[in-house]
Subunit: 346 residues, 2 copies
């Protein structure tokens, strides 16, 4: 059986902020007949995760390229691989059957032929919307969990600051932190996002960083007693301002530095005198480092979802054609919550 | 009994690199009669520790001022307090007797009246030269020990880089690291220091950073397989270059950033993309955080000294008048090893 497969690739390497015109949508015909013994699985993709880190893969050179499989550089003209959820169409692999729902590394395309060795797992429950397995129960959730509980080492009552707080990872971090018993303030780039953080997600306070001219004083105003934990999604000036406002023995989990992805000239110059004297820890991590904690993460998060203590914030575009704008929009703050593209009806 | 006491103070706050003319030498007459019940101890100072961090105390404002007692701002015209070794001249405190050798927070002066609540300990051994208790068995040694073993979490065979490696803290870190089983390279600011590191202190290699134009490539050349541990004494460009050359899960102990003390415009802008993807930890500390490990530190270090595996590198100037030049010299790399001023004969 032949299948028409539409897919997305970069035309060329992308160096600055991504634009829709950086991408091409191609149409191929693929076969659904799998080679027996190949262990291949053909997946019909349903929800694709749209993530900022892909921009680093699109660069011709980035020091990140050699650090993990997920960071490997993208090749112009070749379909972009990424996390998502789909349904098995055909399987040459034991344990996977036609109709199974799966999550794993698929592609920015309608169908992906997943080869042996690529992460692919059957969904363990259908209790929640499928999209949750891309976001809050997928890598975004695991990122928030791994970074917050492991790196930030929260203590009850501590003061937590989260940047890109209405984003996919940030909103979950803030909610975990509140549920843990911390005092939590987030920042985001629009008034609407700020209202959402305060009124819907239970943040103690929130502010629009685009309306602030001196972030160091802004943070001083919001944290008169200092910051114990900073969960950094953006880097740059915000990181500098946070370092200035950290308390003794403060912890900074550097999850990502989106303000530096699209502009190599943006760099944080944190005051290292503060790092020494305040004994600050600044630590980077990748979600994959915490895969061994997946069961704990899943149990905690599912429990919170069931008791409606945790809110899944999602932002879903429809159709493969929407991928370029969905991706470019991450760098303009277009998304609220986990950005995904639904490429097919369930 | 009246005693003539000469002491050193700053004339005014010092903002840039310190110069000899920033200091004044004063002469006072003090009394050796202590108020009974006061718990005061009058100490005749023998060796004074000359430390870079004092420059931060000399500034009118530094974010470091509020972070610990030792970091408190200095007042122009008032004697500078600091670590050192001396002999008790008179005591109103139980447990301290005339003639006892002590180490603790005394002052840049010939005699210090040590009040209750100020750190003062009797020396536990006279097996080693007195000066060792200021340097390798004092705070410099504890700094090296605390930072290396606790923050750097060394593993056998790991690649270690130390900056200001012929300095007081740096030389001990390098020697501990070698004795632990690491591969160790240091940098320093003269040819003579580099030779010393290689030929006398057992470093695997060393280089003169002042002869290098691109520190990032220099480190790449010296560490073709990357750096696992960076013990940072200098900050600035060297920190940036180290971050670029760190291996996955590398650890950076930020002990001090001397290149940033004398020039507020010098700042490190480490590539945070590296920090994220390589899961680097950058952590500041103060020696005082490890005071509870003093016994372990002392036992290990004394053991190494006895078996002549560890070399005590000292740089001693004579006389209270030499304090200003000794201190200013730290910022020009004049010292080799622990800088001290001997203010009186033992
Ligand atoms: N370490 C890991 O394993 C891991 C895993 C997932 C994600 N991450 C990182 O975590 C961060 C958030 O990722 P996400 O998936 O949750 O994305 P997201 O936050 O849902 O989307 C990106 C958001 O970043 C903000 N932003 C964009 N450009 C910015 C700039 N120049 N300065 C400040 N904020 C900017 C925008 O919100 P505003 O309206 O607030 O500006 C935008 O909505 C990223 O840095 C990402 O690379 C790391
Ligand atoms: N965290 C703590 O508790 C603690 C305790 C003690 C010391 N420290 C810090 O550790 C570092 C070393 O202190 P130390 O007592 O061992 O002093 P030191 O290394 O014995 O003396 C300072 C040395 O730093 C180097 N230096 C001076 N200016 C420099 C510059 N602009 N760039 C690069 N190197 C420069 C010079 O050596 P070169 O010839 O190599 O340039 C100089 O000899 C300092 O940053 C200090 O503040 C921290």
């Amino acid at each position: 059986m032949e299948i028409i497969n539409r897919s997305v690739a970069i035309k060329d390497h992308v160096e600055g902020a991504p634009e829709e015109s950086d991408f091409e949508l191609r149409t191929d015909v693929i076969t659904a007949e799998l080679t027996p013994g190949s262990n291949d699985v053909l997946v019909k993709n349903l929800y694709l995760s749209i993530d900022p880190y892909q921009l680093n893969r699109m660069k011709k050179y980035s020091s990140s390229h050699e650090t993990s499989n997920y960071a490997a550089p993208l090749v112009p003209g070749k379909t972009i691989d990424g996390y998502g959820v789909g349904r098995v169409v055909a399987s040459a692999k034991a344990g996977f059957e036609k109709g199974d729902l799966v999550a794993g590394v698929i592609g920015w395309e309608e169908y992906t032929l997943v080869h042996e060795g690529t992460m692919l797992n059957k969904l363990s429950t259908t209790e929640f919307p499928l999209s949750y397995h891309v976001g809050i129960l997928g890598f975004s959730g695991l990122t928030a969990y791994g970074g917050f509980y492991n790196l930030c080492k929260p203590k009850n009552g501590e003061k937590v600051f989260v940047s890109a707080a209405s984003g996919s990872v940030g909103n979950v971090v803030g909610q975990y932190a509140k549920l843990f018993g911390c005092y939590v303030i987030g920042c985001a780039g629009t008034k609407q996002k700020v209202e959402l953080l305060k009124n819907k997600l239970g943040f103690d306070d929130a502010f629009n960083y685009k309306e602030e001219s001196d972030l160091k004083s802004t943070l001083k105003r919001y944290f008169p007693d200092g910051i114990d934990i900073y969960f950094d999604n953006v880097g740059g000036e915000m990181l500098e301002a946070a370092v200035s406002n950290m308390n003794l023995f403060g912890r900074i989990a550097v999850c990502g530095v989106i303000s530096e992805y699209a502009d190599a000239k943006v760099r944080a110059s944190p005051n290292m005198l503060d790092v020494v004297y305040k004994r600050i820890t600044i630590q980077g991590f990748l979600a994959g480092d915490f895969i061994s904690q997946y069961a704990d993460f899943f149990a905690l998060t599912v429990g919170y979802l069931r008791s409606r203590k945790l809110h899944a914030l999602e932002d879903i575009s429809i159709g493969i054609e929407s991928i370029p704008s969905a991706f470019a929009g991450l760098f303009h703050g277009d998304n609220i919550g986990k950005k995904m593209v639904q490429v097919a009806e369930e």
